[in-house]
Symmetry: C2
Subunit: 324 residues, 2 copies
Amino acid sequence: MKIKQLKEKDILSAIRKEFSVSFPELLLGIGDDAAVVRPGKKLVLLTKDLLIDGVHFISSKHPPFLLGRKSLNVNLSDIAAMGGMPKYALLGLGIPSSFKPDWLEKFFSGLKSAADKQDVALIGGDVSQARKLTVSVTIMGEAKSIITRKGAKPNNAIYVSGTLGNAKQGLLLLKKGVKLGDSKESDYLLKSFLDPSPQVSLGIELNRLQAATSMIDISDGLSVDLLHICQESGCGALIHLDSFPLSSDLLSFQRRPFNFALHGGEDYQLLFSVPTEKEGSIFKLQKKYKITLIGQIIKERRVYVIDRRGRKRLLPARGFQHFD
Amino acid sequence: MKIKQLKEKDILSAIRKEFSVSFPELLLGIGDDAAVVRPGKKLVLLTKDLLIDGVHFISSKHPPFLLGRKSLNVNLSDIAAMGGMPKYALLGLGIPSSFKPDWLEKFFSGLKSAADKQDVALIGGDVSQARKLTVSVTIMGEAKSIITRKGAKPNNAIYVSGTLGNAKQGLLLLKKGVKLGDSKESDYLLKSFLDPSPQVSLGIELNRLQAATSMIDISDGLSVDLLHICQESGCGALIHLDSFPLSSDLLSFQRRPFNFALHGGEDYQLLFSVPTEKEGSIFKLQKKYKITLIGQIIKERRVYVIDRRGRKRLLPARGFQHFD
């Protein structure tokens, strides 16, 4: 049986069943014209992404369960980058008629597992046929205050979470035909690309501690995303390659890991600036999270990198290349 | 110059310029990871649609200005159907590389004209390449209370706004090669399909007057959408073809207008049920809006239609057929 033999009603009813939720704030979820929530006095955050097969992912190489997870998680990462708490999700899905119901089931299981992990409720959506698999997710989140890209100040320290460049190496392996299960090292890298984790709890803690003056998630690549912070904040940055957090798995596969760490993209780690008086908070967070100091904000509106031989050069902003 | 020669940054910066807005409630619009609004004590409504070329519209036959308007307006119609006030929009756009910047400019002008008309602010979005033109719109609206599909009760009167079946006839003419400007009658029908108007102010007034026990917008066709109300409310309906509101333009083109009115879809009129004690409010609204009584809610869970010869038969639910 193929998707075109399923009616939209059946699909929606399956979604409704899978995602049946009950929150005090949720007045009306899937099944009417709009979803309705009654927020408290907090800020409401909204974000959305449009992901298209062949442009943002390769469905033939992406297990549907993991694609469902990633579709939600890349959006949660945008909420994490504001220090917000994700609450509600809306899904728009365009499915080619050749896809089988089994695919859809796994995709929704993945989406649900990611939603459950962060206590996010899917409250609305829209399913239709499409030539290419198309996924559009909207997330509504909330926060008492937010961390934007605008607040970095000279002498702020620049920190990054996790390790960098793994997703790009994972994509490269995927394109070469490496599969999940082939080896422990390749699995780690493949999963960094296929199944990234949004840094939601870290974002919330940084916000609660008021420890970051600016923040962004690394989706396009550190060089591009750091530039976004500098442009929005009207400053520059100096980063040290020697300090870069790299995974042993990346090092075991890649002779030029720094290119991947600087320009790779899709790592969905958090990049943020911290004023001197708040570095104590970061030291405490480092007991719970991998957070690494990689440089500082400078007044001059340029981004410099100090390479491993101590040479200072301008950092070109080369971001993640989509598939086509 | 083609879209692929434009950078996403340029497109976003054009959008940001075009849609630069300043609302007291809007803390952060386009240009960061998420949009942030600070709602009051009202309910927040969220709705989203995914529209794909060849499935939901035919871009080669849809002037881009009108397609931009329609992309927003079909979503506003969902907010209207709850009696809500639309406030914010997020746009996800996937554009084929063959499209010209001129097309994009017109599309955004159209979107903006529809947004301006309803005081809606575009506060976020995402642009990427796609094989087929793909439009995903999310609307956030607000309301003090809402009108769902669930509240219809036996003996409630059934009303519909505007006239029915025009959009379907417009689509038929469009497929036959009829163009805007060919005649006054065909223009009216073509515009019903290409440039529908969401019934936002009527929805808000019905809500304010607490005049409707249930409401839906007619996107799939009256027969399907009335069935939605009946299923959700646990009741049935009896409608009279003789009372159906039909435009003179539809009558001049179509010998079987009732089929179109019953099953046509894409009219984006409001269909709602009204208890006896509130019919006085409807009479007052009829001075301002075209609203027609077409039948009543019944206890038996079936939908009957009385045809023009007085014969009563079950109404089959046959909805709008998408293009493929």
